[in-house]
Each structure stands twice: as structure tokens, then as C-alpha cells.
């Protein structure tokens, strides 16, 4: 009961925010001086004025923005996300295709940065003040300040160009038909971009896990456990992990937002045909339907991350699960 109420409340709040995000996105795009019609037919089109007006009328460009928004939102809810101007395909299809490429990339980067970062953070906290701790800390601070695309460029120029271990870009060998691409080739092309993306996500989780574990290790219940004979590894495994795992996972889920931003940059560097490069393409070519679609999709993605973190908390933290009623 308690749990349902908690998750229901979170979900409700997120849905209202999601609605607000789509209004905001629509408003921003609608205010743009970039004319979708020009973007569609090109600047030196020979189309007659009447034909242009007809298209504008057909798209509803002459309607007031509020009416346009309602029409767009209504269609959006019905599953019609419009047609991408740049790709000449339905927005939903484009997002689906592109996201299927990105999801592998993000998942690998997310899991890689999460596990490695968590372990590095725990290690640094246990060795607090040592040389290792300082190295890990400095490394994280440097990574935090490094722009994603620059790290991508360095990785590319070292591993792909100089050493020639990996392909320079794309998601599959050039010129090969999509159905002929093997899983091995897909993975081969995934390694460098996901490495770039993962390395950048690491510092946040490492510094968080380190900080949190240091906090936990100085709490009263650790003192008591120590007084009962537990040694440092028992303290870390029995109590430390138990108390930092959930918050750390939450932080990692909350990083969905940065992951999406990172993917736009990483895909741009590695010419990887994912949703991030679709966003860039849509923005640059004035493809309003696709831009809107991706904006709302990205918000859903971020909310999904937050929601999962909230649900995990509800399921796993006894203080929320069993309520404070008997306390």
C-alpha cells in the first residue's frame, strides 16, 4: 500500500513534468525564425507561392501556436509523431532505428562506468589519504573537466588512427549492407565510442561512492560494529556496501540525462548513426518534427531513469518499503 502510493505519486509528478517539457519544447521550436517550409523545400526552390501556401496550410503553419500545439500533442498521443523532413520517414521510425543503435552504446558505457566507478570509489574510500586515493581523485577531477568530444577525438586518434586497432567510425564496415553486418562487426565498432562515453561517466560515480563510503565509515553504527570485533573488510562488506549501493545506483540512474548529452557528442565524433547524431542533424537542418520528437523522447528517457531509481528505492529501502509507522 505504502509502496504503491509512493510509486504512484512519483509517476504522477513525472507525467505532469513531462507534459510541461513538451510544451516548453514546442514553444521553443515554434518561436524559431528558422522556417520549416524553407528547410523542407530548400532556399532556391522554384515552387510557386500558391504551392508554398498550400503546404503551409496543410501543415497548419498559419494556425495560432496554441492550436498547432494541441494538434501536435493530440497526434503525438495517438502515436503519430509526424514525418521527419531530413530523413523523409516517420519520426517514430527514425527514432526507433537510431535509438536501437544508441541503446547498445549507452548500456555498455553505463554498466562499464557504473561498476568500475563504484569499485574505484570504494577502493579509494578504504585507502583514504593514501597515494592510490590521491591518484584516483585527481584522475576523476581531470576527467570531469574534459569535454566528451575532445576525449573522443584523442581516443580516436590514438587507437584508431595511430595504432589502427579499431575502425575510425560508423556502426558497421562501410559499404556493407545492413543485413550482412555480423554481431562481431557491430561490437567492434561499438568499443571506442562506448569507451569514450563510459570513461566520462566514471568520475561522478567514483567520487560519489568514495564520499558516501567515507561518510558511512565514520558513522556511529560502524563504531559499534568495530567494537564488536569486525575488521575493516567486514565493515566495508557487511555495512558499507549495504548502505552505499542503493544511493550509488540512484546516482547512476540520475546520470541518464548526461548520458544522453554525451551520446550526441560521442556519436558526432565517431560518425555513429545513433539518436544523438539524429538530434544534431535535426537541429542543423531545421527538421522540426524530428527535433520535437527527439526532445520529448529524451525527456521520457531521463524520466525513465529517475522513475527506475525511485522504484528501486521503494522496493529495496526498508525505511520506505515498510513505512515509518511502527517507528
Amino acid at each position: 500500500m505504502n509502496r504503491l502510493k509512493y510509486i504512484g505519486g512519483t509517476l504522477c509528478r513525472m507525467l505532469t513534468l513531462l507534459a510541461a517539457v513538451s510544451v516548453l519544447s514546442f514553444a521553443l521550436v515554434a518561436l524559431s525564425p528558422i522556417d520549416p517550409l524553407t528547410a523542407y523545400i530548400g532556399t532556391n526552390s522554384t515552387l510557386s507561392q500558391e504551392a508554398k501556401d498550400a503546404i503551409a496550410e496543410h501543415w497548419g503553419l498559419n494556425d495560432p501556436p496554441a492550436k498547432r500545439f494541441l494538434a501536435w500533442a493530440g497526434n503525438f498521443l495517438k502515436g503519430d509523431w509526424g514525418t521527419s523532413i531530413a530523413f523523409k520517414k516517420p519520426v517514430k521510425t527514425v527514432i526507433g532505428e537510431r535509438f536501437s543503435y544508441s541503446v547498445a552504446l549507452m548500456l555498455i558505457a553505463w554498466i562499464f562506468s557504473g561498476t568500475l566507478g563504484f569499485l574505484a570509489g570504494v577502493f579509494a574510500a578504504v585507502k583514504k589519504g593514501s597515494l592510490w586515493d590521491k591518484i584516483i581523485k585527481t584522475f576523476c577531477l581531470a576527467l570531469q573537466s574534459a569535454p566528451t568530444f575532445w576525449v573522443g577525438l584523442l581516443v580516436l586518434s590514438l587507437f584508431a588512427v595511430r595504432l589502427g586497432w579499431f575502425p575510425i567510425g560508423l556502426a558497421a564496415p562501410m559499404g556493407k549492407l545492413a543485413q550482412d553486418v555480423t554481431l562481431g562487426e557491430r561490437i567492434y565498432h561499438l568499443i571506442l565510442p562506448s569507451l569514450t562515453l563510459g570513461v566520462l561517466g566514471i568520475s561522478k560515480i567514483t567520487l560519489y561512492a568514495r564520499q558516501k563510503l567515507i561518510e558511512i565509515l565514520s558513522s556511529d553504527f560502524i563504531l559499534f560494529a568495530k567494537a564488536r570485533g569486525e575488521n575493516i573488510s567486514q565493515l566495508v562488506w557487511r555495512h558499507g556496501m549495504r548502505n552505499i549501493a542503493l544511493p550509488a545506483v540512484t546516482v547512476q540512474f540520475a546520470a541518464f540525462s548526461e548520458l544522453f548529452g554525451g551520446i550526441a557528442l560521442a556519436e558526432s565524433v565517431f560518425s555513429y548513426p545513433g539518436i544523438g547524431s539524429a538530434l544534431t542533424a535535426a537541429g542543423l537542418s531545421g527538421d522540426v518534427p524530428l527535433l520535437l520528437g527527439i526532445a520529448v523522447f529524451s525527456a521520457i528517457f531521463v524520466f525513465a531513469g529517475n522513475l527506475m531509481a525511485n522504484i528501486l528505492y521503494g522496493l529495496l529501502d526498508p525505511r520506505i518499503k515498510e513505512g515509518r509507522a511502527n517507528g
Binding site: A20, S32, L141, S145, A146, L153, S157, V161, L265, V302
Partner: protein, 278 residues
């Protein structure tokens, strides 16, 4: 003796960082602003020179000197970063203080706006704003300036709430001081340090986002020397092994960002000696 050196070291270290960062940033800024465009003029006779005595950072595909271009680009980034963090921090201060002092509906509204802005990936929001303003310099400037306030707003709001709960502030209210008086005499002086550190830490984010959005092609036009543009160009030549086109501009950018981070973190430590019992 021991005590004195410990104190001296920390203070000195922070001062050294601050001076270093300031010299670096001010130097780059002035050098860039006063630079004669001839310094990075096109010269096809010397294209793609690797780093060497004549051109410390090498030259690009049009034979332009990379060192001068990078400095010019970074100075542009710093200008944008300063303006953007100034605007964002003013928004954050106003919104954070108002939310905490007025409370009630306004507080919920500010919180809601913060959640709204954080509900979309930052980069997507930047792309949308830049799109709204028809891309270009204006788009980047507004985008970066209008999207960096949420986190700082939260920090300011939390700080104000904490101070307001203190007994002496409560007493001031009961003594009949107006809200404005209490805000000016008691709350602002305590929030200010936290706020200033927040502003300093905001700066690197602003520069980083400026470079990112420019790199993607939404920002400054390709003719202008901006770090994002330079790195974006370098992408085309990396496959042929022109590594210096990417390495040096990035290092300059990284140094600027890190120095700001270091200043912010060290100031934080100086102001909260409680965390330093190690």
C-alpha cells in the same frame, strides 16, 4: 612551528592556485581580445605543419597558426562563459532567495521550474534554445546563460532555508524586523560565500557547454576561431594523422576548466574547515 606551516601551506596553496588561474585566464582573454587577426591568417604555403619552433601548436589545413587561433578561440569562450555565468547566477540568486524567503506557492513554482529544466538532457535544451534563436553566437550565449541556474538555485535555496531556521534569525523576525531587513542583514552575508563558490564552479560548466554546442555546429560560425569550431574541424583531419589539431586546443580548454574547478573546490575547503580534520 608545525602548526604555522600547516596553516601557511593550505592558504598559500589556494592563493597560488587562484593567482595561477587568474593569470592564465586573464592572459588568454587579453591576448585573444587584443590579437591582430593577421596572427592566424591563412597561408597555404605552410599548411599542416606539425608542432615546431615556428608554430608551437602547428598549423591547420589553411596554414593558420594553431596557437594563435586557439588563444583567440579560448578568449571568446571565456567571454561567453563569464557573461553566461553572470546571467545564470543572478537568476539563481533571485529565484533561490525568493523561493526560500517567500515560500508557499512561489517556492513550489521555483522547484517545479528547476525540475522542468533538469527534466531534459542539458544538451537537448541547449540545442532547442539555439534553434529558437536561429543558431549562431546569440543562440549559444542565450542557451548557456539560461540553462545553468537550476543547480545553483537549489543550493541557494537550501542555504537560505537553513539559515532562516537558526534561532537568531527567528529572533530577528520577532523583534519586528521586516523580511527585507532580515534578508539583507542576516541571510545575504551567509549565503554570499556559498553563492560565490557556486558561481565559480558554474563557470567551467558554461565554457564546456559552449564548446560542446559549438562543436556540434549550433554555435559560432565556422569562420570564427572558437575552440568548438577548431575541434570540429580537426575531426576531418584526424583520420590522416593530424593529431595536433585536436590535442592542443583541448589541453588549453581543459586547463581553463580545471583551474576554475580547483579554485572553487579549494575555496570551499577554506570556508568549511570542518571537513579538514584529516
Amino acid at each position: 612551528m608545525d602548526r604555522k606551516t600547516a596553516r601557511f601551506n593550505t592558504r598559500t596553496r589556494v592563493m597560488v592556485y587562484i593567482v595561477l588561474a587568474f593569470v592564465y585566464l586573464a592572459g588568454v582573454l587579453l591576448w585573444g581580445l587584443l590579437m591582430d587577426p593577421e596572427a592566424y591568417a591563412v597561408d597555404y604555403r605552410v599548411k599542416f605543419l606539425p608542432p615546431g619552433a615556428g608554430h608551437l601548436f602547428g598549423t591547420d589545413f589553411m596554414g593558420r597558426d594553431m596557437l594563435f587561433r586557439c588563444v583567440k578561440g579560448l578568449s571568446t569562450s571565456i567571454v561567453i562563459g563569464v557573461i553566461a555565468s553572470a546571467v545564470s547566477s543572478v537568476i539563481a540568486l533571485a529565484a533561490g532567495v525568493a523561493a526560500a524567503v517567500v515560500g508557499g506557492k512561489l517556492d513550489s513554482f521555483v522547484n517545479w521550474c528547476v525540475d522542468l529544466c533538469m527534466g531534459m538532457p542539458h544538451l537537448v535544451l541547449l540545442v532547442l534554445i539555439s534553434f529558437m534563436l536561429g543558431r549562431g553566437m546569440k543562440g549559444v550565449m542565450f542557451g548557456v546563460a539560461l540553462t545553468h541556474w537550476p543547480e545553483l538555485t537549489r543550493i541557494v535555496r537550501a542555504e537560505v532555508l537553513q539559515i532562516r531556521a537558526q534561532p537568531y534569525v527567528q529572533a530577528a523576525y520577532r523583534l519586528g524586523k521586516t523580511r527585507m531587513q532580515v534578508a539583507r542583514e542576516h541571510i545575504l552575508p551567509h549565503v554570499l560565500p556559498v553563492y560565490l563558490i557556486g558561481v565559480i564552479l558554474l563557470f567551467p560548466h558554461a565554457i564546456m557547454h559552449e564548446a560542446s554546442i559549438t562543436f556540434l555546429g549550433f554555435g559560432l560560425s565556422a569562420e570564427e576561431p572558437a575552440i568548438g569550431v577548431i575541434l570540429s574541424e580537426s575531426m576531418k583531419h584526424i583520420a590522416t594523422g593530424k593529431w595536433w589539431l585536436a590535442l592542443f586546443p583541448g589541453i588549453l580548454l581543459l586547463a581553463a576548466i580545471m583551474l576554475f574547478d580547483v579554485i572553487g573546490e579549494n575555496l570551499k575547503r577554506l570556508l568549511n574547515p570542518g571537513s579538514g580534520h584529516e
